[in-house]
Amino acid sequence: MIWTALTTIMVILGLFGLTETVYASMKSFGIIRRISTAGLEERYNLEKSYYLLSTIVWVILLSRIVASGVFWITNESLIPLIPGAMCQFGVNQAGAPYSWIDDGVKLFVVFAYGVWLSLDLINRRVKGGPLMLTLSKIFLILAPLLFLEAFLDVAFYVTVSPVVVPCCRTVFTASNPLPCPYCFVFHDAPMFLVVIVSYGLAICLVFWSLFIRHYSFKFKEIADVGMNAIRKLTLMALGFSVLGTIAVIPALFQVLGTTGFAP
């Protein structure tokens, strides 16, 4: 392991995620198992139990979302510490195979976790918590992803070592039509980061609103709150996509600006 403040934070967040996911999964499973046969009093107790679960899941998911952002910063900080690494491609080579899988998983975790968070926000605003069972089930579906993501973080940062690695210049040569995504986005055209993050969030917000729409049709109790949330989410999505479109102009200038080949 390469001990730095950031790798330590990532390992701690990973271990926290692993333990809390196990605990929350058991609690969630308990609610699903008992709710169908519960009487009035037990249902009230289950509701209280669900609010505890909900709080724990919020902490887990938010910590994982923070870890998803810190992940890229940590990898960038490891480049000078790994001989031969010129960009995050080299860092991933040093932490293979966990690093490569982790990279792929990190690209859509915010989208997946956001589905649960947005539905839970609506559930909290409606009396009786009609989505309690649905959210417990969704959490059980998310749990393997949470577990995998946290495990990959721990495995990657514990196994990564300062070995000599071949970097992207072995793959992305002059004859390769594609650029190295890490060199392109993180080093030479960083404005594209703003574009990617803005559009990524816009796509997430759109999909979350579609999920809320689906459940608003299914559970009439949440229809009003759901429609209000959809309006807010789509407006935010529009805002992020406009921000991404504005950012794409300087980003394109970063790529094209100095490259005229006229005499």
């Binding site: 040569t173 060199c183 030479d188 999505a237």
Partner: protein, 134 residues
């Protein structure tokens, strides 16, 4: 049915992705369509490894006529982006069968990378060289 605003977001994203891909392809086609001077070559790279700078290059001509050099560019191979450029003021003239030193002063990635150096002429042609750093 997808709501109007959602549709607008998706259309915006798709159109910007298309524009970005077209822009990158335009950049690549500009680099590949450049006519190269066959009789002139970059024969030496003057590097300062302490400051990670390409100070300049030597150009050697075997051509029969002189040529005017107007500007220089450095494209990072791994990203395909021109990371540095400069215009020679006044422009430099390379006499036939001679060598000239062209000052550049381009910063190089201290972690290392491959670069393609282009020296452009007043005729719209170029002299190309490759540099693997460090």
């Amino acid at each position: 049915m997808i709501p109007k605003k959602t549709m607008l977001v998706l259309v915006l994203i798709v159109s910007v992705v298309i524009v970005s891909v077209l822009a990158f392809n335009y950049l690549r086609s500009q680099q590949t369509s450049l006519t190269l001077e066959e009789s002139i070559a970059i024969t030496h790279y003057n590097l300062n490894r302490k400051t990670n700078t390409l100070l300049g290059v030597n150009l050697t001509s075997e051509a029969v006529s002189s040529i005017v050099l107007t500007s220089g560019k450095m494209v990072k191979v791994q990203s395909g982006i021109a990371v540095a450029s400069n215009t020679f003021t006044p422009s430099l003239t390379l006499a036939p069968n001679s060598t000239i030193y062209v000052p550049l002063g381009y910063s190089l990635d201290p972690e290392g990378a491959d670069y393609t150096i282009y020296i452009l002429t007043s005729k719209g042609t170029g002299i190309k060289g490759t540099l693997a750093y460090p």
